[in-house]
Amino acid sequence: MTDVVINPVRTRVGSSHWNGGAPVAKSLGRHGARPLHNTTNGRFLCGSRGFLATWVARRFSGGGHEWTVDSCPPRLKPWATRSLGPFGCSQRPRWALAVLLLVVFVGACGEETAQPEIVLRVANWSGAQVESSFVKLERTFREEFEAAHPGVSVRIEQIPGHGQYAPKLLMMHVAGSMPDVIQLDASSGAVFIDNGVLRDMVPFIEADAGFELDDYFENVIDIARRGDALYTIPLDFTPMMMYYNKKLFDEAGVAYPRPGWSWDDFLETAKKLTVFPEGARGPTQYGMYFENVMPFWVLWLWTNGGDVLDPTGKRAGGYFDGPKSIEAVQFLVDLMTKYRVVPHPRESAAAGVDLFRSGQAAMDVKGHWMMIDYQADGIDFGVVALPTNGVERATVVYYSGLSITTKARHPQLAWEYIKFMTSADVQVRRVASGLAISGNKAAAAHFAGTPVEDAFLAEVPYARPPWGAVVERYPFIEELGREMMEDILYSGGALSVEDALRQTTKLIDAALAEQ
């Protein structure tokens, strides 16, 4: 009954026509089931009642598409040929309405594509922090990939905020709606790698003659290894480094720090850079800024030969409460309370005010990404390796990479996408903003030659993976560490560092034991 073409009308459902008399609506409304045919992209919209088709047309009216009221080609017309009798039955309009509402609700209104497209879904966290030019760049990459793979459309799903990123992806995995490719932060990678959320990439690498794993930094690659399996190809990474404000150093007449400096050197430097006016309640300028974020301060344990967990990552006893860790935390606390060269959290302003960026602290331990902000602030900065206390240089490498999910619908295409995104050509443009060091050696080498970049690259061999890449509950342990530091600093000396570390070690071991 719906095959007969009654008054085929060629109408442009652009905004100008649509807002006026709506000729489509008129023709549709009178003659019942009239599918809309979009002659611009070849899609058929096989609606049932006139207003449904109209509603669909309205949804797509923004793009300036050409539409004709036409009959569906037979293969695209499941409703008209099968059990859709109730739609035409004028004596049972209520049924028609109910079913219609259901159809609209479910969103199954036959939007048929003449040429099926493959949609590759890619999840990342929003690039909002890095201004919109970065987002624009990402769009360029997507378009280049689509141009090289006809019939493929890449859908980037931005999930803002590190706090919600992993939870949302894990829920998508459980619910079976996981994207094909996900960007991962190494410091929360363990829960993904160890629970079958990601695919082993080795088979893809071995089958691909155009891909060489040697093109990437080895100790960055190794973070996502489990035995022979490899779960992530790095996009970019950063060791944590000591930034220093050259202007403040020059004003104080202090020489810039050099790699290989010790904690004692650091303390002397920090003292010289602290300005504590006579009679003031606190310093007006500090030697170093400190934020109670464990990923930032765990490095002080490492540069003293201490650690949070034993090498297998199974327990904290003997490590987090070991003498080297106690000494390291004591040193940090002393910097704030005894020497007063680092602001106590009480003294540093609440979230959002960074004393290094405001020129009130001369040093800060941060990663490559902060460079973008420092440059924007006009800070003349240098970077240097972290000071150590009688052990070899050590730092952490925080990185992000791309993984293929086990529930990916297009794994091979996902691999192609990852290969493209981590290629030197794309990487050179991607990290040009100063975001991080490219995981691709060729792209990283492209930016070498400046003192700052060379200082970063020189630290790569000393960089260790973060515990979060190996231990699933490490984000929780980091929360315990942050709370512990708060307990110590706000107890006013009542809680000794040793006792605090012993208590927290018990909590960490309890959390690890029940895993």
């Binding site: 939870p167 894990l170 459980v174 629970n195 609440a350 509950r473 929780f476 709370e483 029940e514």
Partner: protein, 298 residues
């Protein structure tokens, strides 16, 4: 006749169907599932879920940090609910007057209710900043000490969250009170005026008793919302300083998303539900007695 009634019923079910399906799918079913999960050791991503009976419940009450979170939650409820209700009533009395431009004020007071809690939290972080924040800035301008970092002081952080809650929750409570106030017949006030009642006496003996049902509703809904405090804690304090703002819902979040122990998180959710139910029932009981006494007096 019979047929008509049946048809009415049939249509009635159709009308309530969307809400019923929605509630069943997105409220009742998850509640039942959470109850089931709370009796198991249930890792979000692992396949084995061994049954452990009330093990999760036993463990959480043995955990001093969870007991601390319950304590903090009650502290927040005890302060934010009465203050919030009184503030809303006071503002409702003010904007109930037929003044010119009063609509503007009603709108202004309601704006926080339609804003994102995350955005409001960011605004409050700024308000509470030391030295440069609104409060500390004003105190410095008055010649007082303006260096208190409210969100980093164990003694202040919870107070700051309570203060913020008064403002965020003000709009909806005010609107409900406003509706209650405006439904009080004018004759009662005229009679009271003839009896020589002062403004305060009119409020005390006419407005307040007649607002009792409204007050009950506002108190109960405010209490439920207060027990579910989460967003400002997550954005502003992360449970700190020294766990003074670690509340039950934030604890549940940490169990589920830092430890991936959704069994424990479900069990804690049930404990929170029980807390809310008990407190709400007590409130109903107390205030219903108050209602009947008011009725007897009138």
């Amino acid at each position: 006749m019979m047929k008509d009634t049946r048809e009415h019923n049939w249509r009635g079910y159709l009308f309530v169907a969307p809400a019923t399906v929605y509630l069943a799918l997105f409220a009742f079913l998850p509640m039942v599932l959470a109850g089931y999960m709370s009796l198991h050791r249930w890792h979000l991503l692992k396949d084995e879920h061994p049954f452990i009976g009330l093990g999760n419940y036993a463990k959480m009450f043995a955990d001093p940090f969870f007991r601390n979170a319950i304590y903090n939650t009650f502290v927040y409820v005890v302060f934010s609910v009465p203050l919030g209700v009184v503030a809303a009533l006071a503002v409702a009395m003010l904007v109930a007057r037929p003044l010119r431009g009063v609509g503007v004020f009603r709108t202004l007071f309601f704006i926080p209710a339609v804003s994102s809690q995350v955005a409001l939290s960011m605004v409050w972080i700024w308000i509470l900043l030391p030295e440069v924040g609104l409060i500390n800035g004003a105190m410095k301008w008055l010649g007082l000490d303006g260096s208190t970092n409210f969100l980093a002081e164990p003694g202040w952080a919870m107070a700051a969250l309570v203060a913020m809650s008064l403002w965020i929750g003000l709009g909806p409570r005010m609107i409900i009170f406003l509706a209650g106030i405006q439904s009080i017949p004018e004759q009662l006030y005229e009679a009271a005026a003839l009896d020589g009642c002062t403004g305060w006496q009119r409020f005390r003996h006419v407005t307040l008793p007649l607002l009792a049902p409204t007050t009950l509703f506002v108190v109960v809904t405010t209490t439920i919302a207060a027990f579910q405090l989460f967003t400002p804690v997550y954005v502003m304090t992360r449970g700190g300083p020294r766990r003074t703002t670690d509340v039950v819902l934030y604890h549940i979040y940490k169990e589920a998303w830092q430890k991936f122990d959704v069994g424990m998180a479900s069990a804690m959710s049930y404990v929170l539900l029980a807390m809310i139910l008990v407190v709400a029932l007590v409130q109903f009981r107390i205030m219903r007695r108050g209602l009947s006494e008011a009725g007897a007096a009138a």
